[in-house]
Symmetry: C2
Subunit: 390 residues, 2 copies
């Protein structure tokens, strides 16, 4: 597979910011304040693992016109200079008394008359990444300016992937598909689960991903029960069903799909669960096209997984989600998410099923929606549970 | 090096919670609400990479007595059952109308009479991980209950590492020291920087770390200027100074140190910068013992790095920090951080220096403070800049 180019050109960021600016205007706001990693990266291209340090706050203000304005710790200035902004205001963070609050407040006031409205991300799947005491101080300093929630606007912009974003997603999912295909050649009964994790990570890196940001999984006799835990040191045994679920990253874009395996011939119960999950993703794929809703995808899968049930949701809460620069993005395939699917959306289909004596099985595929067809980013899982050491 | 055991026994969590409960009482509060990954892990042992999904909020309430109470999405219940809590309240998140707010509110009210005070993390290095609109809804629902900031209390508890925590830090730093020592045997002129990153990650995994959570670095003729960027694809060239800075993780505990190298013989300017950084860490190590302050460590390093300067800070803002379950933790070695160092603290010493034509060099060591001595967790860097292909 041909490796796409890294980064994006300015036209990509201009288009993203232009959409945000139309939304700011439509909300009657004067600017949008961003504090979080994904959004700051999406609108400026500022990409660094340094976000793992909780010490310093980072601010980006998107005005009604022009490029974003960065108000950031000076340690980030060299990197931000290469990003989509012409206006970088910085300070030597951490500061004892004022960690950027006065600076960002000044920028906001320059773009908003008193009495005007500031766009913020306040809704589902967002969090304000700054100390709460500083946020309250900002509210006080912005006395006369009210907040308006722009979460739905920004999520809708981010949901639709540009051709350049699609290429990155296709590339990382292709690599991870190869790694999953190789699993039966190097996982065997007797190997401790944590060792399979380590080898998976090494193989994924050798195969070309930048990072194995997310790898969870589980194994258990005839099934597993936990799908977010770190691995145990228990060796895989004949009769185990085991699962890897990984979010690998290339140039900041995530894959997010899993694969299930059986060590030796599986029980009919376990294999039936796997077939039902396959059938559920088939059912979703059969209706997936621009114009259907996330709720319809949920409903179509739920009919297969829990025939006759009419209540919404299950213990996992949803059957998939959006995919992009975060492991999970909007929308959510739930009974209540009425998001209309459009061309350019990258989605996971992630049905789960309870079976046997408290076991849980999850399947996941990654897809890209086009006007006339649906593209599988993940190489399709088999209907039967794949067997290792059969 | 002997591998420590994974996880912690209940006594460890009981001790942590006991300290928090004493602080809650001292603040006149009735409970402490936690929403963030590091704190929820610290007090319950709940460890999962699933935090990378921004979809679901997670709540833990520490009451005045007894174990923490978890109010969490049902997808986390199996893992939380293995953690330090006897009381798990869950819901099928994401929920359309109420993503845990009513549930967590009920728990808080059970532990607080109206008019009482709820401990929150509102200060430096913290952020409330839930939608702002939900936080405002929680404030409204908790009408009559006020928030008190417990950031300093919780940071002071976390700063002092137990013997079990120390063993994990020692182990991961030992592995990373080996990986750094191996660098001159496999990095050579002509290798693209991103390829050195990929190989570093694979080597670290092969050597036993669980994850290479953080790897940044840079290279440039006679010096680099950016210390948080992802790698470029430019091949290393003779005359380059280059740097890896990594936060590797074992059982949830971070290393955080870097190493600088020269491709071919370095210039005197670059080598002098490296020697000054070494001398700065030596000066800090010479005074480091229980009773000194973080500010004193800053001052001692700054005297070497910027002789004659009296203003605080520089563009990097600090010369090191705490280390543990996050890449960076409190305290900060700045002119103003009066935190008193005590036995059990894990710290980085991270001086930086500007030299030549806009170049920056950063050195970093990881140390553990004991009553009678300081233990180097990272294998000491050499005073002279190490040479590759010399």
């Amino acid at each position: 597979m041909k490796r796409p180019s890294r980064g994006f050109d300015d036209a990509e960021f201009a288009a993203r910011c232009g959409k945000a600016q139309a939304a700011i205007k439509a909300r009657g706001a004067g600017a949008l304040l961003l504090t979080s990693e994904a959004e700051i990266r999406y609108f400026t291209g500022f990409m660094t693992q340094f976000w793992q340090s909780p010490t310093r706050p980072w601010f980006v203000v998107i005005p009604l016109t022009g490029k974003p304005i960065a108000v950031i710790p000076s340690i980030g200035v060299p990197l931000m200079r290469s990003c989509y902004t012409d206006d970088i205001i910085s300070w030597a963070s951490p500061d004892e008394h004022d960690d950027g609050i006065t600076l960002v407040c000044d920028v906001i006031r320059q773009h908003l008359a008193s009495g005007a409205t500031l766009g913020m991300l306040m809704g589902r799947e967002t969090a304000v990444r700054m100390p709460l005491a500083d946020l309250f101080a900002l509210q006080t300093a912005l006395n006369g300016i009210s907040f308006t929630d722009m979460t739905p606007d920004i999520q809708h912009i981010r949901m639709v992937k540009s051709p350049a974003e699609q290429a990155k997603l296709r590339y990382v999912c292709g690599i991870v598909s190869d790694v999953f295909d190789s699993v039966p050649s190097w996982v065997h009964a007797g190997m401790p689960l944590d060792e399979t994790f380590r080898r998976f990570k090494i193989r994924a890196l050798e195969s070309g991903v930048d990072d194995v940001s997310y790898l969870v999984g589980a194994a258990g006799a005839d099934g597993y029960g936990d799908i977010i835990a770190p691995p145990t040191t228990a060796p895989l045994a004949h009769g185990d069903v085991f699962m890897f679920d990984t979010g690998c990253v290339w140039d900041g874009y995530f894959s997010d799909f899993d694969r299930n395996f059986s060590i030796g011939t599986p029980s009919d119960t376990a294999n039936d669960a796997h077939k039902k999950l396959f059938d559920a993703t088939e059912a979703a794929l059969a209706i997936l096209r621009p114009g259907v809703t996330a709720a319809a995808l949920f409903s179509e899968m739920d009919k297969i997984l829990r025939p006759g049930k009419t209540t919404a949701g299950d213990d996992v809460g949803r059957y998939g989600h959006g995919l992009g620069i975060q492991l999970t993005e909007a929308p959510s395939h739930t009974a209540w998410d009425k998001t209309v699917i459009t061309a350019g959306m990258a989605l996971t289909l992630e049905p789960s099923i309870a079976y046997g004596n408290g076991a849980l099985m999850v399947a996941e595929e990654n897809v890209l929606v086009h006007e006339q067809h649906v593209e599988l980013l993940s190489r399709r899982a088999s209907r039967d549970l794949p067997v290792i050491d059969g």
